[in-house]
Symmetry: C2
Subunit: 481 residues, 2 copies
């Protein structure tokens, strides 16, 4: 495609402009005609498919099934849980006409599916035999986004999964919430190489309608946090208005306990910002649609046959070994142009096959994460590629983990707290009295919110950083996307 390859802005100089260029030039996504909407292009979609398949496998192994619920939800359904309705209604796109007819009731284009799911659950669940009910939905949701569009991060429509489960007891619902949180951690840390802080949301920050919310929070290079996923125990807050009841073994009727949880294509935005560099995207091997790209290099026509044959043989061997491999034989582009393109697209490993490599029965591996070159004997290629991909995966995580840890500043004084957020950003670890009022003042003063409260209570090391009263919690504050 005739396009300007290469990113013209430095990541450190202007993260926002750099980000937009990476998204569009690496062909992850494109802007759509309606403000706030984007097109997920094939390369971006294939990363999303990898993420989907990794999570989907874990969910199914743990007994979850996928389903599909309707896109259009009657307004009356959204109104059944009042806090929930208030939270979503300013963002809803409303269908009011069908063909030439005006509808008698407005239909919401799915902003989230709790209400329509629960209406069905109340009909499907009769007794303890029907529990737990473990259903997940892969779909898109639409919520009007009035600030500036940022692909994958702030869009009016996004792809995600939403899990909706029903349990007999609070304890069962708790276990589900924590199991899902661990699945998300595995996906994000082990497969996307993105370290996160795990914990609870404060009352103020929890999901509207939840008993409690757990979260995974990552730190971006500009000092702002990203909420990567959330897993909620909804208590009986939805089961009561929606009448989700079951006949227990005790022959009595009980309200059930529900959970919901989700991750979205926002995960991709963290991959871009955290791992990317001046050359463009860097995709962690486990979620890379192409893990290895082979580029044949020859200058004279008579070299072409041997080099092509060798490249094909290497590609076959790698594919047979389960490595996602692409061999780039396009003759309308030079090797140098191809190097740039695949670096821009963040393919973790490149293999160059030139005339000397044919002679010496070897090839050259080039790592995307650190530009290291390795000359490898043909018989060792498969093993070396596999170990190299593992090293890249580990290296990306280690680098990001170091950055995350370096970002955490601990303070016990409000002046230092404000400076810490103003100067460097990142996570600020501080003690808190537990009152929403203090949280709100802090947000007004600094733009920061409590991103998370540790899963296991940590011992306060000072009084509340804002009001000076005795602290009940250690909290991690940050500004966020």
């Amino acid at each position: 495609m005739s396009k300007q390859l290469g990113i013209s802005t430095k990541k450190v100089d202007d993260l926002s402009e750099w980000y937009t260029q990476v998204v569009t030039k690496a062909e992850l996504a494109d802007y759509a005609p309606v403000k706030g909407f984007i097109i997920l292009r094939p390369y971006g979609n294939s990363i999303w498919e990898r993420i989907r398949d990794l999570l989907d496998r874990r969910l199914k192994e743990a007994g979850h099934s996928n389903a599909y619920f309707p896109l259009l939800i009657p307004e009356g359904y959204l109104q059944k849980e009042a806090t929930h309705f208030k939270g979503f209604t300013p963002e809803v796109f409303w269908v009011t006409q069908s063909g030439d007819n005006t509808l008698s009731e407005r239909l919401a284009v799915r902003p989230t599916s709790e209400t329509i799911v629960y209406e069905a659950y109340s009909r499907w669940i009769r007794s303890w035999r029907d529990l737990p009910l473990l259903i997940n939905l892969w779909n898109s949701v639409v919520r009007s986004e009035i600030t500036t569009t940022r692909p994958f991060l702030r869009t009016s429509e996004f792809l995600w999964q939403e899990g909706h489960t029903v349990h007999a007891t609070k304890e069962d619902a708790d276990s589900e919430v924590m199991m899902i949180l661990e699945f998300y951690r595995q996906l994000i840390e082990d497969e996307m190489s993105i370290p996160v802080l795990l914990g609870y949301k404060s009352e103020k920050e929890k999901f509207k309608g939840a008993l409690y919310t757990t979260t995974l929070e990552a730190m971006m290079p500009d000092g702002k946090a990203i909420q990567m996923g959330t897993s909620h125990n909804l208590g009986q807050n939805f089961s009561k208005p929606f009448e989700i009841k079951y006949l227990g073994k005790d022959e009595e009727m009980h309200y059930a306990w529900t959970t919901s949880w989700g991750v979205s294509w926002r995960l991709i935005s963290a991959i871009i910002m955290l791992h990317g560099d001046e050359k463009g995207l860097v995709v962690p091997p486990q979620v890379a649609p192409i893990q290895v790209v082979l580029v044949p290099i020859y200058f004279k026509e008579e070299q072409s046959e041997a080099i092509t044959a060798k490249t094909k043989a290497l590609a076959d061997a790698l594919r047979k070994a389960g490595v996602e491999t692409h061999a780039d034989f396009r003759d309308q582009y030079t090797p140098g142009w191809k190097f740039n393109e695949w670096e821009l697209k963040g393919v973790p490993l490149r293999i160059e096959v030139g005339p000397r490599d044919v002679q010496n029965k070897q090839c050259v591996l080039v790592r995307r994460d650190n530009s290291q070159e390795l000359t490898v004997k043909d018989e060792e290629v498969v093993d070396r590629v596999k170990s190299c991909l593992q090293e890249i995966q580990r290296n990306l995580f280690a680098r990001a983990k170091k950055a995350l840890e370096a970002s955490i500043q601990q303070v016990s004084d409000y002046e230092k707290f404000r400076n810490a957020l103003a100067e460097r950003g990142g996570f600020v670890r501080a003690c808190w009295c537990g009152m929403s009022d203090c949280e709100e003042v802090i947000q007004n003063d600094t733009g920061a919110t409590i991103r998370t409260l540790p899963l296991k209570d940590e011992q306060p090391f000072s009084n509340c950083v804002r009001c000076g009263k005795p602290a009940t919690k250690v909290a991690y504050f940050a500004r966020s996307y």
Copy 2:
């Protein structure tokens, strides 16, 4: 779940009522609160996932990529291709409000994606290097359906895939259309065991905006045809209004050629109607989420341990051999209840493991398609299960093929033509003058349309069955869903 198992209506007596019962009792789908919409339940969704994965693999091997395009499309885009707009606009759900704001332009909830896809293609395609562009979308589309809802068959929202490709020449587009038609045939005939007639649509019946449409038509037990999928060559009808142009190797600008093609969850409705019987659903093994269900049977507690162990061992061996296996250890249901439930859900093969089977190192296989029982030695189970599944697959196809062939009546006389359709339905093979007027009169008289014109022209054997003028085509007429 406490529900009425078993279908209370005979398929031959009332196909429509039988169909609804199978869909809801086998838990494939449920009705949603908004008229015309359904909920795809986990079991139905897992069949759709099997269909999706089978087709998706073929598409990717042939170089197609998936993408995701926005759900909401500006009205102005739909209007760009006039015939297309006229065809879809009466069915469109319109978004007119976002939160409390009235939108300046109405947004269509995606009825199909041609227009929004082509707007992007016109920006992405510059030269011959960018062709062919082969993109497929898995999504849902929404079209107001005013007649009675029939799950999978007539619903206002349905899941489908829509392929949208761009080519340099008409010949390339022709090849794509035919390759996709063959992929669909493989999916429908080889994997869903549903025989089809392949061919072209008439001018009157083709996709609005297409140069020509190819189709796959199946015959249902009530004598009505179902259109299973279509693959269109759109010529330059969309590339011109949307300005999809490329710089050729000749250094000139050319309008490109486009194709589109799709299959939907309607495929599931044909599985239900064609293969189902008095006990419920029969799922062809290749698309069955559960191919084999194992049911342990014991009457005394002391038998339970040995039988459970044996059932688990068999299930493990089958899973290791790649068979989709479920072992039903629920102790709140009797074996007889389980037999009924899995028959209702159409699992192709049941394995019973009882006390005598432990003793004799054997088990009993029961085929869903013909109720045949086979006693099989333990060491042969895996091989016998595999061959049995193949036989079921073949048997379902052979049975349906026989029914399809028996349904075809050949006539050369209009009186007989009308009687044939009124009495038995099915396909009527007849000669046709090629004029849309005659088609329309036939439709008004009989309710039948030309379902397809053979891919290779067949020699007319009479004059036009309606007007008596010289015939130019042999056509297959039928009433249809």
